[in-house]
Point group: C2
Chain length 201, copies 2
């Protein structure tokens, strides 16, 4: 073994020891409140990746979509066909605010979606709930953040929740266990490339 290889080996042995100490210090298990926010891509997509991972172990899961409308077909919805006994998928939005053009109806559809979410937030058998674009509903004050956070905090101890959407409220960030900002560095839409099947939807 030459000097460089030996130096590398010793450095990595020290690093391994450190990693072992760190991992040993993490002992708690609990249902996580996770938030994906920011203007970049991957907020909902990462939630759906997590959803597949979850379903693959046989854990019951639910998706509730607050903004997307049922007529907008996406690839991710087809996960239900693969896990019919484990996954329930509710697309309850009415579309973008500039398409509905009716604030009162937008508010009503978000409130109806939250009312359904509450049913699942009371169920011990549901392991993961994806609340897709709930941040948008909170941003426009279509739902009361204080009430939403109280409801989330009363869910079963081991239940995981992922909330997606731009502009997550500071109150929600404070209440969350995990927050990732998907930050836009470069977006193909800005380069004249249109939304493509299997990528954006």
């Amino acid at each position: 073994m030459n000097d460089d290889a030996l130096h590398h080996k010793r450095k990595m042995q020290k690093r391994q020891q450190l990693q072992k100490t760190i991992v040993a210090s993490k002992t708690e298990e609990k249902g996580l409140l996770m938030v994906h926010t920011g203007t970049g891509k991957g907020k909902s997509t990462a939630a759906f990746g997590l959803l597949f991972r979850h379903l693959s172990y046989g854990f019951k899961s639910v998706v509730i979509q607050f903004i997307k409308a049922p007529e907008w077909k996406t690839g991710e919805q087809r996960m239900v066909e693969f896990f019919p006994d484990l996954l329930e998928w509710h697309t309850l939005g009415k579309g973008f605010t500039w398409n509905t053009q009716d604030k009162q109806k937008d508010i009503e559809s978000c409130q109806a979606a939250w009312s359904l979410a509450l049913d699942y937030l009371n169920r011990e058998d549901i392991s993961l709930i994806v609340l897709d674009e709930l941040n948008i509903a909170l941003r426009y004050n279509y739902l009361d953040p204080d009430q939403i956070i109280r409801d989330l905090q009363q869910r079963p101890k081991m239940q995981h929740v992922v909330i997606t959407g731009r502009n997550a409220s500071q109150k929600l960030i404070d209440a969350a266990d995990m927050v990732t900002e998907m930050k836009l560095i470069k977006h193909p839409f800005n380069a004249g490339i249109k939304a493509q099947k299997g990528i954006e939807y």
Copy 2:
């Protein structure tokens, strides 16, 4: 309709017009080079969400993992069981550098993984390639970034590639069509919570 509702409707009508103009200006379709980087969670998870979306439409896809070792079982690997005719999954890493402790072997395994990636980068029938944690291999100079970028640029025009891992090189960012930085705002590991099944793996 009251004044507030009317004001909202008019504002949204203008916004809808603007959106239509923007969408109409995006006409190009092409295979995208996508990079998920940053210290936050969701880099690989979003790639696997994209992978499911892609497979759901019947598009052939491949995963090559540069760092993760085969003995580390994950939920996402089970996607192969659901799409046996569409998806090939290669976990070719040897584990974290602090576990292998052998720089020469790490370099060799990354080079072998790239050599396999090249086979797929030459195939017109492969619609999406996930190069999981390739950024790590580039960061440690286990692979030559200039050569990797040249190889990527010679792939079929409609083939999509997603590259994940911390510390994406600036050269790769410059060459990419889409770059998202998953920025860590809050991580449960920092609060003493351990990696949980169905969430982290």
